[in-house]
């Protein structure tokens, strides 16, 4: 694999990461929770109240678990930095990746109705979260319609996303849709939507997309040959988004 121009040959991916631009006016000072996981309509005093139930935690290292199946459910987590993967292990011991969660996204929502975690969450690289005690969230939601509403929206959105992901698509479509999804989420966070690092391994991607690792490799190679993307290890550049959208079988992103 001959790659001529690497802006920086990566001992660390951090150096070359596109700069962050602040997204929201309001932000939780305590943990940097951006607008992405906060109600848009919160004013200052509300924010202050809200901050009281947000608890910082120390960062997790690659592979560390945030929670596991059957753990007591007491807290919701908001990703502060890094990336987490959630997964389950079925009766036959096969792992199934349920999702990847970037900064500003919530973890553990599937545990609410059973008061027990039904999935595992593990850090991909050094990552951190904010902790929100669930009963404090519900209590506060009683007083703050905006928060209640926001919770409904977040849950609804996850339902919608999962529905979309459940659809029947070819390997190429799924891969293209996956890359575009990452792009749009990075963009929403102020990062480049054309170039980003994959926090997860090929086999995690494969598992998430219900493909074999080899297929992921091949599809990426094929996309590259067709000029849709450029891949170098973890770094992905989207060269032709329109074509990618077409490959994904979706309207423009």
């Amino acid at each position: 694999m001959v790659d001529q121009q690497l802006v920086t040959k990566g001992t660390t991916g951090k150096l070359r990461r596109p700069k962050l631009t602040p997204v929201s006016q309001v932000a939780c000072t305590k943990c940097g929770l951006s607008r992405l996981c906060l109600p848009a309509t919160m004013d200052s005093p509300q924010l202050k109240t809200f901050e009281k139930i947000v608890h910082k935690t120390r960062p997790l290292q690659n592979g560390d678990h945030l929670f596991r199946v059957a753990d007591d459910f007491t807290d919701i987590y908001a990703v502060r930095s890094g990336c987490f993967k959630t997964y389950v292990v079925d009766a036959a011991g096969r792992e199934q990746v349920l999702g990847f969660h970037l900064a500003g996204e919530l973890l553990g929502l599937d545990a609410i109705y059973q008061s027990v975690h039904v999935s595992n969450a593990t850090a991909l690289g050094t990552s951190s979260v904010c902790k929100l005690q669930y009963d404090e969230v519900t209590t506060l939601s009683q007083q703050m319609p905006e928060l209640q509403n926001h919770m409904f929206h977040l849950l609804s959105r996850r339902i919608s996303d999962l529905s979309a992901a459940a659809a029947d698509h070819t390997a190429d479509e799924r891969m293209a849709a996956f890359l575009l999804s990452l792009a749009s989420r990075f963009k929403a966070r102020g990062y480049s939507s054309k170039e980003f690092n994959l926090a997860m391994s090929r086999s995690d991607i494969a598992n998430y997309l219900r493909l074999a690792t080899e297929t992921v490799s091949r599809v990426l190679a094929r996309f590259q040959k067709k000029g849709l993307i450029k891949v170098d290890r973890k770094l992905v550049q989207l060269l032709d988004k329109d074509a990618l959208c077409k490959a994904a079988g979706t309207a423009a992103w």
Copy 2:
């Protein structure tokens, strides 16, 4: 893997074992809403208040649409009788069935965050629903913690179900799991869990399970030959649930 920290003194008085939310004795007199879609802890006066926001509608005929993509989202629907299917149509015109919804189950939850429907819902056979104006639900949730909690639970449960359905399984596993899911839902509604009618066509089932219609036919035939089930047209009898569970790759239901 599975921790043994199951001995936890409760921080709250809540049940925390993996089981369904407790069911209530009460039922909405107005539309027959069963305990399945009502908060378990509602008492009589609360129920009366709740009933005020429940609106009966006239039954729909087979194929009638309850809502379509891009329709304004104003109401949540609770299935009163019959069965509904929700689906989307992708850019290429392919239909994707998202789910089947039996009495007591809610419809339209994926529309909350966009205030617009993102899926279509159509009746399978003559079916009816109750209508709940969404902003009345949220307003009432502010005053009734039980209702808010119930909404969170329902949304969380749907997330959990969708996650499970998204997993990568063989045709046999998916079919077995599908039959068992129906069985358990019928049982929860007081119907037989061993014998029931399929409200949906083979091709709807196939689409939902991401299989070809022909494959559904073949799998059902295979199951019958192996003595797991008996199928006659729409009527299904589960003859050997244990074997079905094994075929589904799940623990007993």
